[in-house]
Symmetry: C2
Subunit: 247 residues, 2 copies
DNA sequence: GCAAAAGTGTTAACTGTACACCCATGA
DNA sequence: TCATGGGTGTACAGTTAACACTTTTGC
């Protein structure tokens, strides 16, 4: 491992839209910034920070992600660059930048990434300028700091597109899961009900799920079989994608 | 129109992948830089330049596009940000930057856009540091300056994905065109042969083409009917996209 | 026994794909 | 008359979408 002198680039940041799934709803990891007597909504922001000049963009995103969730080697994908002039137009945002940046007036372009993590494996902890890092229901978010709400919507749109073309959703699931839980994840992401029989048939035909011998316990209904996900078949499928998965 | 003082941002550029179609092959607009006794391949680059601090990113892309092709109000879509440290690693590229940039050692992140233009309507002209701006066959490009080859491949990949989900290809076609010409465009973009009868059936079912009364003249075969493209139906389709257009 | 989610097949409509011949024109 | 690309229909296979009942468990 080579250590390099790291220098913040004051003009370019990365922001991460970190999705999780709690077996019921789609979640996103947000931080609270120090309060400047604002309402809660505008204190919430995507985790993100300035990049270092000696790291690649995806390394920056991975670093920020690791600093904020303790996770590494996570599915991580670029959404795009956001650099409109009015992205730093809210009074509260400007005031906040004064307190944390050495060059608060600089025009900052942000490169947004999204990632999918297992909530159970993650251990979000607040970083320097964040007073908390917590999971929020995506559907309940109506406003965020800067242009982060736009970024969140773009990430969601890209995730919805990706989930029906690539088997990426497993990054959100625990190691063992039932088909019902998996279906709930698709429903939460796509925000619509799916037919149980059709869902099971389609997802099993992809050949990326292996049935285990284990079953749910302690549930007051017929216990469901647990499945694990077959990494080998997943990888070959992830390369090509699948055409016919239009829910 | 409000005039603002424009100031170059030395850390962020836009690069444009401008696709055209010459009724046979997919083309891309490239510039030649001043020669530093290099081979031709590495003198070729995507048109692009530093952004101004007082314009939005897509305004920057539109400005560069207009400066280089004379076109405005063009289909233009962001591909993403490219900022790997080794994007400025070639000796020739470093030497060239010394001659055109006031801060040639700066780490520059580029935001890439792609656009689709009618070659017949465009009037590419070389800008300040370009000695030429010409159309090249996409399939013949094997190397470009900086990381521009990567950007070109990413643009092509995105275009291929988009062309089967959105009726965007008409941006490449002249006002009137035959179905044969349209099919050739799809074949050029997707780089594969399509079945004529199936293509015609599918594309007509989209309801975005209006037949005209005019026919080809001066061709030594049965003259083809000209079609124009129905903007109204196109727009409503462009919003929703289409699911089933998998060639 | 009842509430709750698991698990299971069939049918009809639609979509994709493969495939071959005649037509109108210029040379 | 020949070479060239335009224009047309059908049949088979695969996929989507809609739909209802029985099973197993905890309480």
């Amino acid at each position: 491992m080579i250590k390099k002198k790291q220098q913040l680039n004051p003009y370019i940041s990365v922001d991460c839209v970190i999705f999780g799934f709690d077996s019921d709803r789609l979640k996103v990891l947000l931080i609270e910034r120090e309060d400047h007597s604002l309402n809660t909504e505008s204190t919430l922001a995507l985790p993100g920070d300035l990049i270092n000049n000696e790291e690649n963009l995806n390394e920056s995103a991975n670093r920020v992600l690791k600093e904020l969730t303790g996770l590494k080697n996570i599915y991580l994908k670029q959404i795009g660059a956001f650099g409109d002039l009015n992205r730093i137009s809210k009074k509260d945002d400007k005031a906040w930048l004064q307190t944390v940046r050495t060059n608060p007036e600089a025009r900052v372009i942000t490169i947004a990434y999204y990632s999918l993590v297992k909530i159970s494996d993650s251990n979000p902890k607040a970083s320097s300028f964040a007073t908390s890092a917590k999971w929020y229901n995506v559907e309940e978010i109506k406003a965020l700091a800067f242009d982060h709400y736009d970024i969140l919507r773009a990430a969601l749109s890209q995730l919805r597109n990706e989930i029906i073309h690539q088997p990426v959703g497993f990054n959100l699931m625990p190691k063992m899961f039932t088909l019902g839980q998996l279906q709930k994840m698709y429903e939460a992401i796509l925000n619509k009900k799916l037919d149980k029989r059709n869902f099971r048939r389609k997802i099993l035909k992809l050949n990326i799920l292996d049935a285990t011998q284990e079953k749910e316990t302690g549930v007051s209904h017929k216990p469901a079989q647990y499945f694990v996900f077959n990494k080998k078949n997943y990888n070959s499928l992830a390369d090509t994608g699948f055409n016919n998965f239009g829910f």
